[in-house]
Amino acid sequence: MKFIFYVILVLLLVPLQTTLLPHVSVWNIKPDLGLVAAALTGLFAGELEGLLVGLAIGWVLSLFSAGELWLSLLTNGGVGLLTGFLGRQVSKVTSISLGVGLLLVSLASGLLAAMNFKYLDVSQMWWMVESIVLPQACFDGAVGAGLYWLLSQRFDVTRLRIE
């Protein structure tokens, strides 16, 4: 059952990310739903599932991006693993704390991606950070916090995290 849920999640993420999200982008920046989904999976299901789902998301999304496969695998898989690990270290997760955590994680993965661009000099790197990486990190944090808040309103998130 869980496996089917994850397959549907991965399959639906592609059209959401590539077709629908460009309509709601702000200044041509859209949130990375793959990163948010990997983080929430890690938080609710633990490191192993977070890692595996993150890797699957990273791989499938990389098929529909000009970006490199290894970067997509590392960032999404790493985020699933990291949130699974961090989720166990904090006793209380709120929308705000999750949002801030996602912001930092997205910022780290964005910086890693920016450093991978070989043609960038310092000024171009700074431009990329302030006009793409930072707004996207804020967007990811806000979307993650919003999703978590919606889940916590609808379900008993404590139970979801423990069971």
């Binding site: 460009p22 791989w59 000009a66 290894w70 690990f85 166990r88 661009f117 043609y119």
Partner: protein, 293 residues
Amino acid sequence: MWMVNSRVSSGARRLAFACFALLVAALFLLPGQIQGLLQYLDGPVGHVVRVPLEAIASIDAGIADRWQQYVVLQGVWEENQQLRKEIEWLRGQNNQLRESATATGRLTTLLQFKEQALPTMVAAQVIGRDATNRYRAIILNKGESDGIKPDMGVITPAGVVGRVVKTTGASSVVLLVTDPNNAIAGLIQRTRDEGIVEGTQQGLAQLKYIPLLSTLRDGDRVVTSGLVGGFPRGLSIGTITHIDKQEGALFQSAELMPEVDVGRVEEVLVIQTSYGQPRKAVVEADLLGKPSP
């Protein structure tokens, strides 16, 4: 009160960390092998993902069409679309004619002028944009099974759109001409000086490595040179808007306004074979197909 997630056993945790460490090591030590391994699965996965992707893309296009046709401006929109298509077509024609006129004078002086065959193209629809914000790319609804391969050029009747960089069985990713990672061999139509067209971070394009003695000026049109890459000669890339000539530099560069509005492109043509190639291919096919006398 929230409680700590204690569901995951320590064995699973260790396994997760071990898997990740193994993956990192494999990606850095054997990047080619890992990519090769995953490429076997790209085709089937691409076909599976294509189903929801095309379904949602067609719903999205349908809603956008209805909205524009019936809600916003009923009659004017259709007329406008027709006129835009006509303008695009005429621009392409105009550009081709101008290129032909320039070339004719030069080529007629050459004794060994050969007739050029038209390139073979495949029409495709844009069904999405790059999954990340870091690349300017579009996703097409045709892929390897339709004969599309990496490095093929992508155009509209107005001019160059970009280059195919990745394909699955049923889709392909096109890196736009405005992406800084893209490089296309260009030619200033009036002066015949060559350079390399690259995208800029601001979403425009620039022509680099122009000879210092070139007499280029604002408003000059830049076309494909046809020397390298998947584009034939003479396809419009953009118009020069600003020239950058620095003291002591070996080359000058120029900013370009791309001919195609890549943010709004919906249908494209993928160039499968450039000028000259089809004829050879046809001849070879004829030779192979015909029974020996």
